[in-house]
């Protein structure tokens, strides 16, 4: 049987990907340019017995998905810049209480209300540093409609597997463009569910590290009674201020992601093997970058594209390795140098990093990147 093909918008693909992954609960608050996700979920979820709720604000939406997740349900919220700022309080709660959830954030111009319909890539640092305190961060940055669908499935898998919030952050261009998408068949993409406890209720502890860095999570209402708090906690879920426990627990939460970077990180290397100039790009900007690399190659310039598919964790080790043999990196992005700074921070000064930064609501065009390559000596 031929696979189902459609012409779909990025936001619509995100919603469809979430449904493929088994999402059964959505809470959100309308905001351009991500509202289509909520609209699709409001129509599709009840058809399969799932639940959609429009909350009173983004804090409420974030709270509702965390509460729903504790009942053993796969959950999603979607938003954009100003809403992401509001969600930060409870993204931190999700991290410390270790509650799986997916946050879909379409990047528009900021700060504040900024440019509601203009594209941007300026939330990538907020994905890691937005909520206070040390905490793990996973952030996926798809570049096409197809990839948005598939990365949504992966985001749910990562959230469930590592018991932590996962963000998916396309820029407005990816979220709003329409492209051909080939739907994966049922069973074609892996779908992971959180590990449920195997011990009887009397023995259950929600943060029992004897099961490893990612302890099994029981569903509320499944016979297991346990406590969840946003305070630093012990293995049984109750608050503690004991120095050694707090230190160990915080380190474990970070380690869940850091020690599994190889599983979480994803990037694409295009013509990088012999490249002297490597463009590090993500989202819609990587599409301009690929075009620019092809143009440069036609003119004999050895250019390559390093396309980030996850922004966090960041592939520091691989970029450090490449930095030892390239003449320069170029970082085009729709912000004032966020990826630029991260690249500089991990390559130990081995090569210059030339930035192309736009925050005027216009995409970066291939010509700008080709021109920048000419500055490399």
């Amino acid at each position: 049987m031929a696979k189902k093909v459609a012409f779909l918008q990025g936001n619509e693909a995100a919603a469809q990907g979430a449904l493929y992954a088994g999402c059964k609960f959505f809470a959100g608050y309308p905001i351009t340019p991500s509202t289509e996700v909520a609209e699709v979920m409001s129509a599709e979820l009840p058809k399969i017995g799932g639940k959609f709720i429009q909350m009173e604000d983004e804090i409420g939406a974030m709270a509702a998905i965390l509460g729903a997740s504790l009942t053993g349900t796969k959950v999603l919220t979607s938003t954009s810049g100003p809403g992401l700022s509001l969600k930060q309080e409870l993204i931190g709660y999700g991290c410390i209480a270790e509650i799986p959830c997916v946050i879909f954030n379409v990047m528009r111009g900021g700060p504040s209300t900024g440019m509601p319909t203009g594209p941007s890539q300026s939330d990538v640092m907020c994905a890691k540093w937005g909520t206070h305190g040390d905490h793990p961060a996973i952030c996926l940055v798809p570049a096409s409609v197809q990839e948005t669908y598939e990365e949504m499935v992966r985001a749910f898998n990562l959230a469930e597997k590592y018991r932590t919030p996962v963000m998916v952050m396309p820029d407005e261009i990816v979220a709003h463009m329409r492209e051909r998408i080939v739907f994966p068949e049922q069973g074609e993409l892996e779908v992971i569910n959180r590990t449920a406890p195997t011990v009887p209720p009397e023995q259950y502890k929600p943060y029992d590290t004897s099961f490893g860095d990612v302890p099994p999570l029981a569903a509320y209402g499944s016979g297991y009674k346990y406590h969840v708090t946003g305070l630093n906690k012990m293995q049984d879920g109750f608050p503690t201020t004991k120095a050694e426990i707090v230190q160990a627990e915080e380190e474990r939460q970070i380690r869940k992601v850091e020690a599994n970077k190889a599983d979480i990180m994803k990037w694409e290397e295009y013509l990088v093997d012999d490249a002297e100039i490597v463009v590090v790009a993500y989202g819609s900007t990587s599409r301009s970058a690929r075009f620019a690399v092809n143009e440069a190659r036609k003119n004999g310039v050895k250019a390559g594209l390093f396309r980030l598919q996850t922004f966090w964790p960041f592939p520091e080790e691989r970029l450090l390795e490449l930095s030892k043999k390239v003449k320069a990196f170029i970082t085009p992005e729709m912000n004032l140098g966020m990826c630029h700074g991260v690249v500089k921070g991990c390559i130990e000064g081995n090569a210059p990093v030339l930035g192309i930064f736009r925050v005027d609501g216009e995409p970066i065009n291939p010509g700008q990147i080709v021109d920048k390559m000419k500055e490399v000596k």
Partner: protein, 272 residues
Amino acid sequence: MAFDYDKYIRPGKLPHIWCPGCGHGIVMKGLIRAIDTVGLDTKNTAIVSGIGCASRLPGYMDCCTLHTAHGRAAAFATGVKMAKPEMDVILVGGDGDGTAIGGNHFIHACRRNINMTYIILNNKIYGMTGGQFSPATPTGAKASTTPYGNPDPAFDIAKLAIGAGATFVARGTSFHANQIDKLIAEAIQHKGFSVVEILDDCPTTYGRRNKFKSVVEMMNHLKDIAVPVKAAEKMSPEQLEGKILTGVLFKEERPEYTSEYAKVIERAKAAK
């Protein structure tokens, strides 16, 4: 035979953090008796709170307990209840938690009329942070941030709940301890969003700043100002000056949110 509270208390989690004379423990005992009266299955009961002294209550209860962030209990609880309507969901929290930072979530939970019970422990002050004024602090009262007397008017929390659409609203006090469980039990049995405001005391941060010489004096004050709704019907406005009404203040039947959403599911499936 004496009532066995231990059945509902998590082993090993007492003593509690509350100060001697704090009213919160009296409300917890009332809640436990109410759960027992209604016969809730603790495995299927979620108790959700925000942050504050009052919000520490769930930790002592042997149920599915969720101590959320400041003010967010109603929104977390809405997620739990929507995702698993077969669970009984009870919210607890202070006046500050529920009506200041959590005010928005509170009024919208009332409006939706989602089948949960919200117990507000109103001690008229932010106890946990040391006695700053809350939206329930009386005008003129002293708090750590109103050294010259509180210029703010106070919320009438029960009226706020009624205005926002809660379909069961009751008020009691920690002095009238034997009434607390009855009000809460009736609230749990009501189908819709029910609010039970219990006026209680924070001797540590409110009492001492506002010239209450002892906890007994604070309790007596609650006794003096409380007037049962029935009795109030026969009293003149002058007699009711400075009093607060107690008992079931409001009750109505209105479509409940999770049942309405079940109909949405039916309609969506039919349209498929």
